[in-house]
Subunit: 290 residues, 4 copies
């Protein structure tokens, strides 16, 4: 369910060592404050002994304020060693989009956003090319042109970091942004920096995946939405998909067909992230897909 | 997860009017008896105000016996107006398979069963043809030949009912059994009588779906696994899938390609049913797919 | 292959009663004029005794002009009773788009077109709502607002027909245009009037398919791109696809998920049409998909 | 179309440097001998300048015998530098199956074969385990047990080669046979030795692909049917497919879900091979899929 379009709700996400009584503890806590659940997902990683939970609570059913909820929940969280978050779904996340020359992923996200179909704010778009300015500005979104030349990469990334900071980005999306980000930025936005890679990882890590797919003669090409870490294309995977190709597809056909998969995989992955459906643990994700 | 191959567990399935505190009530009940959850799925149908839950509890974590659990759970169930069941996963359901001439669905289920991959017992197979006897008997399963001629249908179905009864079937599967069952049997086994229809319902209800798909020129053909009710092909849908076809497919090709979809959809649907992942409400199902 | 981006070519499409020697005849004719084939698709409908062929010839390899080719080909076509066409791929078809309030299919086609990825011209967009004007005009395409009130439908359709005529439309696309067109328009543009229906036909013909899919409890929803005939949702199918839904999807979720299928199915279908990959015979299509 | 169930036909497969007039030459040759085509597929690899063709000719339409056709076709083939083959589809290929302990791929092929749905003969099955003997023999097929111990691999492979030779195998299928074959055998049966690898290559080449997929946290697992070369898992790919997995799948679940993909990918790939739909060039394949 697309929370943005539903009853105002709070999303409570919890992960912690598995222990008998966690569900009971949390759900009793919520129920005692009148909380009516519209969505509830649990997962126990039996091997790792780890527990994951996501609850969407109808805001107006609660007898306490968000702040009170948070304050009172803290002792329980401490008791179970929880990593947790509680978000008011009506406060849309601020997402900064980074793009290069290719328009398809950006156009897709912007259209969904404009249609009220992607639950976020987009304070600005940053690109190392000028060609998408008009499209972005037509959507009423500021466009920042930050060219990245081989010699002044550091300076360019400093400028980008400043813009991202100034717009108080909570999440950054690399919508086919074709530059490798500096480690510092990857660390600062760990778990909030989303990339779309144009292959079904771990196949074809790195540059020119379509060319390599073409040369290998694969019968499926794909795309992977993942969190960015310092290791290129090695971060936790959020979503993947593939499309069938045949001998009649040349490299250009693969690029064209791949675009559709890239944009749909990125949009799904971003939506899951924005709706707090993704929990990272180690280099893997739990995704409570809707 | 395939319960049959995991730690012995109990599966608790609950549905009832939605109310604040249900999850807390049930999970507290389980936790108070030491119950460790390996799987937990919830669904709230906000529109209908109905709640659905499935928990898999590690058997040995419980401090009470199954019988005690049941007895003590009853008052809680009553309080919330629950429909509920608690199954010991190590006690495999008894599934009687009905087949006609086509072998693919039957062969697929039997192979999975023999591989320890379909969590059930198969006390017997009943068919209105003799051709599959050898295959069934090679699996060590009794085969009952019950011909159905136009004139003595009632008598044939009486004999079938008697065999089903004698083998104490909990679930009946129509593995491409091509006869319409009498209403009495449909009622008696409501929610436990599973059919595979060779179209993506509600398209092509009734006879000859592939021929009609061919004539309509569809680009996808499919199959539907559903519970049988007295209304032909109108029962609650458990699982569906499709496969792509093209102008180069004639009717025989569609039949051939369709077989693969039929058997995979039936196997998935049957597994969901056997693992208590399916809850019927009205003419729809909640399926906590793994 | 996307002809628009490749070497200039001519696309020859032929259908006729099947007869020994057709392929030899046509390919000898092409070879005798130096024609180098980059794509060649054949299909024989054995049951109907009908033959279908599509050849893409590299323009510059031909020793004759397009006109000469046409003139000289005519006697051969006559001999075999062929329906045929020969198109210069560099002369992009003129496609008029019709839309209502929903933006997703229109936005998708416009973006592909602007990216040079949909081989056509778009002389104008017609809509019975004003809300998409700005988006269309940003693309540099004229937008015509033709409201359709219950009382003056005939007058509105006359005005639309006049606009379509004036823009010399070769193909019309109903990009979620929610009005039923008058029979006269359907006849005039037979085989050139493309609709996207928001269900996997023949399921849920007519109004509110998502609501009916929701109520039936299907596990897959879909979309169908088809040529419009006077019989609502009964025309020849070009392309279909589906997406998985579950009990956790309400009607709004289905509408949202369905949008993605609608736009990708319509784009694929339209591309096939524009690249002369679709041949209609009776109420079915041969689609030489790439 | 499944040739085995259709009118007796001859399948002519040709590949050669691309040149104007090839199609005309071949189709004139066929037409001059009365040949009626039921299927005809062409592909031009524009980049490589290479041409590929497959024709299925109705046997009884030809005015010459197979031998005469072959003899008369030779000069034409020589002229164009063709690699070519002409097969009488009623003479089913002799396919030897190799298996280890896992039954699913073998069971699937045997069932299709027994149902008349896999156009081949199966002169024998060879395995390094005894557990599948009964299943194979029930199908009326000889079973050869050739254990492979670490110390006498060479001897075991010699024995296998002798059995394969004796049964005059035209094609060998590794139906989850878990031993690496010696280079000599790979060379001898180049283009006729088919393997199913349990990952979507080139991801997870080598051992334990499901474990590695689980550890990487991919959201899709797959299988690849390919010709075996001396480079492990690097041979030309015939067919691939994937299935969705989630965080709720542990390694055993992946193995179980993967089995379904493995068997369907292998069966499709094998069928394509048996119907002469696959042409290898370099390390890639042209697959005229039906």
């Amino acid at each position: 369910m697309n929370n943005a379009q539903k009853l105002p709700g709070y999303t409570l996400v919890v992960s912690c060592p598995d222990k008998v009584g966690i569900v009971a503890g949390v759900s009793r806590f919520v129920a005692d404050r009148g909380g009516s659940l519209v969505e509830s997902n649990h997962h126990t990683d039996v091997e790792q002994g780890w527990f994951f939970m996501r609850n969407v609570i109808i805001a107006k059913s609660l007898t306490v304020s968000l702040e009170q909820f948070r304050e009172e929940f803290s002792p329980l969280a401490l008791e179970y060693g929880m990593t947790w978050s509680l978000r008011d779904n009506s406060e849309l996340q601020r997402v900064v989009l980074l793009a290069s020359h290719a328009s398809h992923c950006l156009a897709d996200i912007l259209h969904r956003w404009k249609s009220g179909d992607m639950p976020c704010q987009i304070p600005c778009v940053i690109s190392n090319h000028e060609n998408l300015r008009s499209m972005v500005e037509w959507h009423g979104i500021p466009f920042h042109y930050v060219p990245v030349s081989k010699d002044d990469k550091a300076q360019a990334f400093d400028r980008m970091a400043e813009i991202i900071e100034r717009h108080r980005a909570e999440t950054i999306v690399l919508a086919r942004y074709m530059q490798i980000l500096p480690p510092q930025l990857c660390q600062q936005y760990a778990g909030r920096l989303i990339n779309i890679h144009h292959s079904f990882l771990p196949s074809f890590i790195g540059a020119n995946p379509y060319l390599r797919a073409y040369e290998r003669g694969v019968k499926l090409i794909g795309a992977t939405c993942h969190y960015v870490t310092e290791d290129l294309d090695e971060g936790p995977i959020i979503e993947q998909d593939v499309i069938r190709v045949s001998h009649s597809c040349d490299k250009d056909d693969m690029v064209r067909l791949g675009r559709d998969v890239e944009q749909s995989v990125l949009s799904r992955g971003l939506r899951y992230h924005l709706e707090d459906r993704v929990i990272v643990r180690g280099n893997k994700t739990v995704v409570f897909a809707s």
